[in-house]
């Protein structure tokens, strides 16, 4: 039995979960539910420097690096964005910087959420994916500098 799930494994799990939904309503209901269940970010992290600014909603994102892996915590003031964050954290958190940098995140397209990545300024998902990858890159470079 395989203990370690790759980013692609987790993406595939999410795609399979979404395949169970017949309608957009059900998909969004699920995302909203994920959003409601995302643990709140400690107030000490809700600083301007941790903000990933979308045009309409605010996302706070923090990351730390332990044992060669990147871990994320995030929150938003909008619930659907929180649900999307929850999925991104599930997919990316706990993986190596290289895996995160290379991640294609094709599940977003496969579950029909591409509109949230469009350049409509309507939300910060695209900016958030970039910021998550930037964190991974920064950890990688810092690690390389130490070595």
């Amino acid at each position: 039995m395989k203990d370690y799930k790759t980013i692609q494994d987790i993406e595939q799990e999410i795609v399979e979960e979404f395949a169970l939904f017949d309608s957009w309503d059900d998909k969004y209901e699920y995302i909203i539910d994920l959003g409601k269940r995302l643990p709140p970010l400690d107030e000490q992290y809700k600083l301007d420097i941790n903000k990933v600014k979308g045009c309409q909603s605010t996302v706070w994102l923090v990351a730390d690096y332990r044992d060669g892996k990147v871990f994320y915590k995030a929150e938003s003031d909008a619930i659907i964005v929180k649900g999307l964050i929850s999925m991104l954290i599930r997919v990316l958190s706990g993986h190596s910087a290289d895996e995160i940098i290379e991640a294609k995140l094709d599940f977003i397209r496969q579950i029909g959420m591409t509109t949230h990545l469009a350049q409509t300024r309507s939300n910060g998902l695209l900016a958030m994916v970039k910021q998550m990858k930037n964190f991974a890159l920064a950890f990688k470079l810092r690690n390389a500098a130490k070595a």
């Binding site: 309503d25 969004y28 909203i32 309409q56 003031d77 909008a78 659907i80 964005v81 309507s122």
Partner: protein, 414 residues
């Protein structure tokens, strides 16, 4: 049939809807309910046809060509100018400058009149409810010239405080630039009083008609504004069209905006003689096709009649306001006595972005966010609103769908 009975009888909104091909489409498997008209209106078939006819029949560069296509294209382009002149009741066609939109019109005035006339210590007055397009150009030019930007406050209903405005006016005031109707609140401002007071103080006035032109009768001479701008795409016309009206005596003395073709009479390497109005401000090949089709849009509005459009939209606004107020936790932002058909609202504990996404999921298009009026949102202590804005083709059934949609959003999110 007299005019009054026609108005009382109203318009056949279903017949009008048939003229808008896009209204047949579905979004997320539901019939489209388009309530984002303050951002841009949909286009009737006559406008779409005018674009197709232009490109398939007489596309040519205008004004300098001697051949038939160039003559036809020039005639169509200039015919729009005449239609615009009458649409806003300007005294002459030379006062009508084509731009890309209201934003470009304001920038043109800031960069030409502003650059020539503003000096250190001068003041420009705007209002709290301005669109960023009527804030930023003035900030840029004020900073460059050492001039000061002053802001007229508003009351809790979203109405300009005229007393406060008059206190701001002084011999330092050089220009007042205010919005005719607010895109975020719907407020119709008392522009006539604003203009008279400014003139008494020796200042000139620009009116941003981006939101008002599609709803209200515009008479720039009666209004006595010095500049008036609007966007064609909010008046059922194509995107990329706009108009700057300016009083001839101002336009004649202002410096040029952009240099290039069309705006010149003679060019040598030592000196260029600029063209006459209105071409002095229309450098380069203009947006010919869209300007040509703008005429079809204005003719469409004239054919229905703005009094009918207003009556229909006022009914929708009234119905929507009453219906939305019944929703628990919903607060309408902007409760001015005089409004265009815009209703902005917030719902307790729900982010406007969630409202926007979940309404879209039901085929309902509204706008959410700060509507490019961040200082106004700050003034109300909010980050954004959801905004429904109505056009001639919207119906009460669509308002009902919006209300039902919002109940569903609240249920999903609570």
């Amino acid at each position: 049939m007299t005019e009054t009975t026609t108005i009382e009888k109203g318009i056949d909104v279903y017949a009008i809807r048939e003229q808008f091909p896009i209204l047949d489409r579905e979004v997320k498997g539901k019939p489209l309910v388009y309530l984002d008209n303050a951002a841009t209106s949909q286009k009737p078939k006559v406008v779409i046809d005018a674009l197709v006819n232009y490109y398939s029949g007489y596309n040519a560069n205008i004004h300098r060509g001697i051949h038939t296509l160039a003559e036809e294209a020039t005639a169509a382009f200039e015919a729009t100018r005449d239609t615009v002149q009458h649409f806003i009741q300007a005294s002459s066609r030379e006062e009508i400058i084509f731009t890309r939109g209201a934003t470009e019109g304001i920038n043109l005035v800031a960069y030409t009149w502003g650059r020539q006339n503003l000096e250190q210590g001068d003041e420009v007055i705007i209002s709290t409810m301005e669109h960023h397009s009527n804030i930023v150009p003035w900030q840029i030019i004020c900073e460059e010239k050492g001039a000061l930007l002053r802001v007229i406050p508003i009351n809790d209903d979203g109405e300009i405080l005229l007393d406060e405005y008059e206190k701001l006016l002084s011999s330092n005031t050089k220009l007042v630039s205010v919005v005719h109707a607010s895109n975020s609140l719907g407020t119709i401002n008392p522009v006539r009083q604003i203009i008279d007071a400014a003139h008494n103080a020796g200042a000139i006035v620009l009116i941003d008609g981006a939101q008002s032109t599609v709803h209200l009768d515009i008479d720039v001479v009666e209004m006595d504004c010095d500049f008036f701008v609007f966007s064609g795409h909010k008046v059922y016309g194509p995107t990329g069209t706009g108009v700057l009206y300016g009083k001839k005596k101002l336009l004649e003395t202002m410096p040029v905006f952009q240099g290039g073709g069309e705006m010149i009479k003679e060019v040598s390497f030592t000196k260029t003689i600029y063209n006459d109005l209105p071409y002095k401000y229309e450098a380069g090949t203009p947006n010919i096709a869209d300007v040509v089709a703008l005429k079809a849009a204005l003719d469409f509005v004239n054919h229905i009649g703005k009094e009918h459009i207003r009556k229909h939209e006022d009914e929708l606004l009234h119905y929507a306001t009453i219906s939305l107020e019944q929703i628990p936790g919903l607060t309408i932002i902007g409760r001015a006595k005089e409004k265009v058909s815009v209703v902005s609202f917030v719902i307790d504990k729900i982010h406007s972005q969630d409202i926007g996404i979940l309404l879209d999921n039901q085929g309902i298009a509204v706008r959410t966010g700060h509507h490019c009026t961040q200082p106004l949102m700050d003034c109300f202590g909010i980050t954004g609103t959801s905004r429904a804005s109505f056009a001639i083709y919207n119906t009460k059934e669509e308002v009902d769908k919006l209300v039902a949609g919002l109940y569903k959003v609240i249920k999903l999110l609570s």
